[in-house]
């Protein structure tokens, strides 16, 4: 057997192996899916999820009592602080928005600094006819 044919044979084996792997994966996944598409499976999955949730709740409550006893903040307390911070952040965002609107109004009156360089918004797809309108047409009229 020449070196070339040996290489060919090993490539054939690899191709067969890969095909087998893909088929096996497909068949097993289909088989599992069939099993999981049954009421008993879904019920037991729901049961496990609920049990885990109940356990989570129990641990949370137990831990909360313990932390209160130890005079320490619980996770819930920290979330409360974070929620307060978030609402402050939202208020700041609101103020920022108002300020930006005011700045935009000033800009409209021609009192602004020079705008930063932006690429021209005039690109057209290759081979597409050129625009009839000049690029300097005000934005509102370009639609």
């Amino acid at each position: 057997m020449t070196e070339q044919s040996q290489e060919q044979a090993s490539q054939d084996v690899m191709t067969l192996w890969r095909e087998w792997l893909t088929q096996t994966e497909r068949q097993f996944n289909a088989l599992f899916n069939q099993g999981m598409n049954a009421e008993p499976f879904a019920r037991s999955m729901g049961g496990v999820t609920e049990m885990t949730a109940a356990y989570q709740r129990m641990v949370t409550e137990g831990m909360q009592r313990y932390l209160t006893f130890m005079n320490m903040p619980s996770r819930q307390d920290l979330i409360g602080v974070a929620e307060t911070l978030k609402s402050i952040e939202d208020r700041i965002a609101g103020i920022e928005e108002t300020l930006q609107m005011a700045a935009a109004a000033v800009e409209k009156n021609g009192n602004s600094a020079a705008p930063r360089a932006e690429p021209a918004r005039t690109r057209r797809p290759p081979g597409y006819p050129l625009a009839d309108e000049p690029a300097s047409v005000p934005d509102g009229m370009r639609r």
Binding site: R18, L21, T24, E25, F28, N29, F32, N33, M36, N37, E39, A42, R43, M45, G46, G47, T49, E50, A53, A54, Q56, R57, T60, R75, L78, I79, A82, E83, K86, E89, D90, A93, E97, Q100, A104, P119, A120, R121, T122, R123, R124, P125, Y128, A131, D139, G140, R142, R143
Partner: protein
């Protein structure tokens, strides 16, 4: 020998992780964990209409900006788009109260407003991946005059009767969503990951077998690592949003029925008249084809296109398949509609 095995060993040991999400960007706006990024344009001339990526709630945004050469963001920048990204970030414990209405009626409109300030343009194009597509649709339905000129939905489920096993497992007969959300606050990342992995139980072990097979192939190992890391990098699901998704979409399938409401505002898909490209993967196990396919029929506009690609949920948007199929199609479709 050791040198030959180095790529595979590095993957197993988690050394020299590939850098992801490296395309230069600036933060335009932030609120809580949410960030609105603007990627720095790389061409002198860009299309008039900016494109806004809307990310899913349950995965990290770097799937759209993987490594250089495999980044959808970078590809669009190079093709002359002004690219933005709404990244919801990793929800913190205090974010458990965030509902779909907060994302769709508060945060997205604010992001659009910020983009308008920068571009001076009223119009935007949305590109939503997975649940991001769902958010884009909800926004466009809630604000028919909200400036969405074009929309690309990628692997976005709309008809939840087609959600297969996920819907079956979430059936109210055996799944008490209130108890779960009340106990956890945010749904833990491990739980989200487990429910996805259960859909294809052999995917992970087979992935490792294939990695061993290609242990010495630097390119294979590199690509495997970027995508594997992303799949494992699951994030928690904000509790209130999860409750609403389960009740209104999984159980009620309200969006496609035209019964969905957010803060009393009805979301009617028939009100969406912008141009829409609905990209779907034929073998998507997370957003099955049966759940993504009915979108176009539910929309009100006349310029709607379906794109079905042979592949899965991730290969649709990232990797070789995406580079060859989805990205050029999106570019071609969007370019003539972004003038």
């Amino acid at each position: 020998m050791q040198e030959q095995l180095a790529p595979g060993l590095e993957a197993l040991l988690g050394r020299n992780e590939p850098g992801v999400g490296l395309t230069p960007k600036d933060t335009l706006y932030s609120r809580g964990t949410m960030r609105l990024y603007r990627y720095r344009p790389v061409t002198d001339e860009v299309y008039r209409v900016p494109i806004v990526f809307v990310m899913s709630l349950v995965s990290k945004s770097y799937i759209l900006d993987l490594v250089p050469g495999q980044s959808f963001v970078e590809y669009l920048l190079q093709n002359g788009y002004d690219v933005y990204m709404v990244d919801w970030g990793v929800p913190r414990a205090e974010d458990h109260t965030l509902g779909l209405d907060d994302y769709v009626l508060d945060m997205l409109p604010r992001c659009v407003e910020e983009i308008r300030k920068v571009t001076g343009e009223e119009d935007v194009s949305f590109l939503g991946y997975c649940m991001g597509g769902l958010f884009s649709l909800m926004y466009a339905a809630a604000f028919p005059d909200g400036g969405v000129k074009n929309m690309v939905t990628v692997a976005s489920p709309v008809d939840f009767s087609g959600m297969g096993l996920m819907r079956f497992w979430a059936d109210p007969r055996w799944f008490d969503v209130d108890r779960v959300v009340d106990a956890y606050g945010n749904i833990p990342a491990e739980m989200v990951k487990a429910s996805i992995e259960f859909l294809r139980p052999l995917e992970r072990p087979m992935g490792y077998i294939r990695l061993f097979e290609n242990f010495r192939d630097k390119t294979y190992v590199y690509n495997w690592r970027t995508r594997y890391n992303w799949a494992m990098d699951q994030i928690p699901f904000p509790g209130e949003a999860y409750r609403q998704m389960t009740k209104d979409l999984m159980w009620g399938n309200k969006l496609v029925k035209g019964e969905m409401e957010l803060r009393g505002r009805r979301l009617d898909l028939q009100e969406i008249r912008c141009s829409t490209l609905n990209a779907m993967a034929e073998f998507d196990h997370i957003a099955p084809y049966e759940s993504t396919r009915p979108l176009i029929a539910a929309l009100g506009g006349s310029d709607n296109t379906d794109l079905t690609v042979r592949g899965g949920h991730v290969s649709l948007i990232a990797g070789r398949n995406a580079i060859m199929r989805l990205w050029p199609t999106v570019n071609e479709w969007l370019s003539v509609r972004s003038l």
